[in-house]
Subunit: 380 residues, 4 copies
């Protein structure tokens, strides 16, 4: 048996996503039989103390504060980008030029032109590339995809309806953090959470043909954060709080999507329902080990929404974990994502969603924003 | 104690809604202490045998086939209109001229001009008038209204999201019944079920300011019904199968509404969620005795969606039924509706939703249809 | 076509159960095609004013205060007994002697000897007899029975587990009403609600072989009701507050039953789960239009508890009501019960559960009480 | 700041529990700020190849096949016992003698005398000791404990009702594995899963006073496993398939417990409901991030079971993981367990549940088995 190759990882970003990705890179080898050994070499962040602590905690060999050095490191095979959105493009383009395989957090970029530059860069450099839309690899969602592809809800889809709802900024005294400022964040609920359900829509149903959207900023002024807070000064919120959209897919299905940070009680509630000609599927991220399935092919009088506990060895990713009935959590979606990315890198296969998918996602976001501004339908 | 007055009822229509209304007129006196005795005098329908059977079954004194005679009957105080939509206007205008109080099934009319004629007729005649949007009087929905009015979800509403989904025409071999032909039905899902959630939106949140909608007819040809069926001929479906809409209310809340007959597994699923500045409310018609309530005012760490079983004596309408925990069903919403209408007639109070509400509802439907056609926002 | 016979009803009792039965006798003809016309002749109760009001409200021709006269009335065909438990026996025996068909509220009697006298009386008189265990005729429960009989959960049952939980006497200041005194009520949770789940156990699984039980009275002294209350005197609670039981059925299945009035939040929560060799069924009275079904015969990886909305025309009793997805309530179980009783009376068929079933139920209650007292297993 | 001490771990057992514990020892330092550094030194198992692979996968320095060497290793501070039940006692006694802190999988031993020897051994040696009843440290269950201790469901508990249900041996062709043979496993559902809910009962409510139980082996003969299988020979099942129990706690509450491997559709379903004088709590392991709470102190008419999503930073253990609304899984309960054990070892505090708790648990199991055999109540 030939020895496995080793893939060396450099992770840029060390906060929420950096933690989720660090854990994924560490854990994946404990539960998955990968075609490569992984070496966690460098984690990079601007705050030296914080990044050192993250390195120590998750076992990265080096802590770095200059991402250019990480990209330039010839030992590194994979660059994983977990920084705020406005730096994705620059880092990814550099990493591509340096011949690295790239995993990039979503949304791919701050706008369509940036995303296009990134796509061009990875194409030219012929490097593996993937956007970390981790929810595609929640087992219940991967199972939904299998079932749709296998015709289990019929040969035609009528409706895709999804909502991603949170409630963390309902309080008008919640401060004006960078995520609420467009220069830093690009957009609000749109890029942060709507982008997830737009990706799932494409993954499960197909490409959008047209959209009509309404966007809203419910709280237009907020107290400044940090030191300015004590001065009781406030500033303008320059991103959207909520996005609602209806539209059509190319295959004729109707779409209804909504993202909001103003739904009290909905902490991280990503739900969807898909209605096809032979059945329906429903999912709720707050019950992520379940998939609800209704089949018109069940015997009459015995039909009903069936709650599949997606913990069987036959379900996507699950044979690597625990016996049936033992739940997995949020972080596992990242582990599955890096597992598939490693396989793609080793086997030189496409790692979906690719940067091209990320670009299309960005175009959907742009169309939604345009429609909301123009008050009319925008075609894609 | 003065003797109660007697109100005499004439019911026009004897099928699905005729059955629901007959039951309501019969049952209401068994469970509610009304300020009037009710006399069920005439039920009217075009099929003599069927209407006779209905009369006998529900204890109507007379079966009639000519609605003009019912309207002309001086003994009758209340005309209850349960006919197909295209005859509502003519009957209601005649009934108003005859000085009758009028309860009319929804949608009020086939279009806005008809609805305006009806409003003018009842205004001129100064007769009590009500549209039978029976879902307003499901106890859980009436409780939601009380809670919103009492500020229990805050002083501001951010989102109203509702779907009315059914699945009875998913099969492409389902025949081209009259409900799928625009000349008879006016519209499809729009008038039949979207009108219900548009009414609830207004009841619970307020008036719409603007809408953007997409409508679709998924199955465009269907086998003809009846005799033509055997000839295997088919005809064109001329109404919508599904409506999706986003929009705004005058108070700044966002709306997201959807009505469809193409959701396998959803038999009569009217759901809504309302998010306010202090909490949220959720409802599902397939669990109609429940209201889900999340309150940001609950103690931190103990917050959660709470399932109120709306069967307490303090809940709207419930003290008339059974002890706590004993469920009521669909038909009870009609009983509550006629109870309130009788009270309004006796006390000469407004019976909401009035024909004016029905007219506004009709305008919303028209705006939705216009937006779907024009592919742009339509203001109300 | 021969004219239908007319069956004349005399109802004894006019409170909670009297209201439920009055409604049932009235409503059944509106929705079911019975083989007899029904005449609601007499309602009987000790409080003249109250029984008169009940008669008027539900359309009984006569209000009576002496049940002997009702039983003696030659015009009456059916005696329906809704009085407190301690008078069931005397009335039923007299009614049987008078040749009446008898519907009797559960539990059949106050103890086994009484129940035996009742069984003997109806046997000797050869009159139709039925105990009103109305929950057997909730459509979802009747469907469960059909499915079990049809082998849909396999040829063998392993477990029957049921709980009937309420919370109306959790407050220690709730007064010592007659239901909490053994001379009037016989027993507490045992006869009142445990008897229901014991009946369902026999209906769905079969006869008990042995039981082991624990019973408890949590609050042993309570304030006296009524006038005595103001004197702040208290009295002894002489019935059980809760019953828990494990045991075996003759067919080898295990039983686990519990009845309690001390479960905050459980208003009228009768739940059961049955596990068979090929599947499971679950029911909850607070969601009475649903039956949950898990089938090991479903395709691997697609198995899950399926929520059957029991509102299809093919489901028991449902074709008489509304279209699929339209819920029915608690009171409908009584309507279905009297419908079946009327059919049994006309066709001279057995009306299950018969008084013999009621007697067996009483024996189960006695065995449970004995086991709790003796602290050992009691065989049946 | 003084340097943290290092604790060195030796893990004995490498299959299902070995995997869960390996992961816990690895992960705990990534997410918890422990008062010690952990060194994963030795993993031990009888199958050399398998244990080597486990060592490599989870980063244990050494793979060992002789547990005596692990216990004798002076470098090792903590012995973690994950072997089958029949070797717990011998290993633990040796480890105690060697002065090691001991974490032992449940049930503590094969019977009461063994458990007593283990308790004596750790007492004499004064070593930290803990039984791995990992479910105590599921955040929702730890929260339930906090709420009960804080009086949130009142000053008195009426009922504890729990079921642990699985379905993995419903198929009569499932082979006679060692878990179904009493010499190897001690008991069936009793020791394997009933022991978990007996522990939770004690944790949440208190000590048992008396029990009455029924046990059953539904499938009494099964095909032999492995080579014998091909010979189509079968053997006798010598353990219980299911246990049902009722009983009382010392504080007067009633208990109702059930464990079964014969509940189709229940994969790993541990549920409980606790009813107190002011409210109720419900939990389901298949939705382990949730706790349902009903409070009689909520405003009248607004009461309802509230679903607390136990993912807030204020909830036990959760501030170490992800933002609110992000779920954790089964394996996290082990991470929390070793975190608390490490703290107890460093601070020399009691690590509950201790071996004494394990002994009491064993006595409960013995009482249940005795009651089932004697068909009578057994006091504890």
């Amino acid at each position: 048996m030939p020895r496995k190759p080793t893939l060396t990882i450099g992770l840029i970003g060390h906060r929420f996503m950096g933690k989720a990705h660090s854990n994924a890179w560490l854990q994946v080898s404990h539960f998955f039989d990968l075609p490569a050994d992984l070496r966690l070499k460098t984690i990079c962040g601007r705050n030296r103390a914080a990044v050192k602590m993250a390195a120590q905690r998750f076992g990265w060999e080096t802590a770095e504060t200059d991402w250019l050095k990480v990209v330039a490191d010839p030992a590194i095979d994979i660059i994983d980008i977990c920084t705020p959105n406005d730096s994705h493009c620059e880092i990814a383009v550099a990493a591509a030029k340096a011949g690295k395989a790239i995993l990039c957090e979503k949304p791919l970029a701050i706008d369509v032109p940036e995303a296009e530059r990134m796509v061009n860069a990875v194409r030219r450099a012929r490097v593996r590339n993937m956007v970390c839309h981790n929810y595609r690899r929640i087992p219940a969602i991967a199972l939904a995809k299998q079932m749709i592809d296998g015709g289990e809800i019929g040969d035609r889809i009528f409706h895709f309806r999804s909502r991603y709802a949170q409630d963390w900024i309902v309080d008008p005294n919640f401060p004006l953090v960078w995520r609420l400022q467009s220069n830093a964040a690009g957009s609000g609920a749109l890029g942060d959470i709507f982008s997830h359900i737009a990706d799932l829509a494409r993954y499960l149903v197909g490409d959008f043909r047209e959209v009509q959207a309404t966007m809203e900023t419910f709280i237009k002024q907020r107290p400044l954060a940090g030191r300015d807070r004590r001065a009781r000064r406030s500033g303008k919120v320059t991103v959207d709080d909520a996005v609602t959209m209806v539209g059509r897919f190319h295959n004729g299905a109707l779409a209804s999507l909504e993202a909001t940070r103003f739904a009290p009680g909905r902490k991280n509630s990503l739900t969807f329902e898909i209605n096809g000609s032979s059945g329906s599927l429903c999912f709720d991220l707050e019950e992520l080990n379940r998939l609800r399935f209704y089949s018109l092919r069940d015997k009459k009088g015995r039909q009903g929404f069936r709650e599949i506990l997606v913990t069987e060895p036959s379900h996507p990713f699950m044979k690597n974990w625990w016996p049936p009935g033992h739940l997995i959590g949020y972080e596992h979606s990242f582990i599955h994502t890096v597992a598939d990315f490693v396989i793609a890198v080793v086997t030189k296969a496409k790692a979906e969603p690719t940067f091209e998918d990320g670009l299309v996602n960005q175009k959907v976001l742009a169309a939604v924003a345009a429609s909301a501004k123009l008050n009319q339908r925008v075609r894609l």
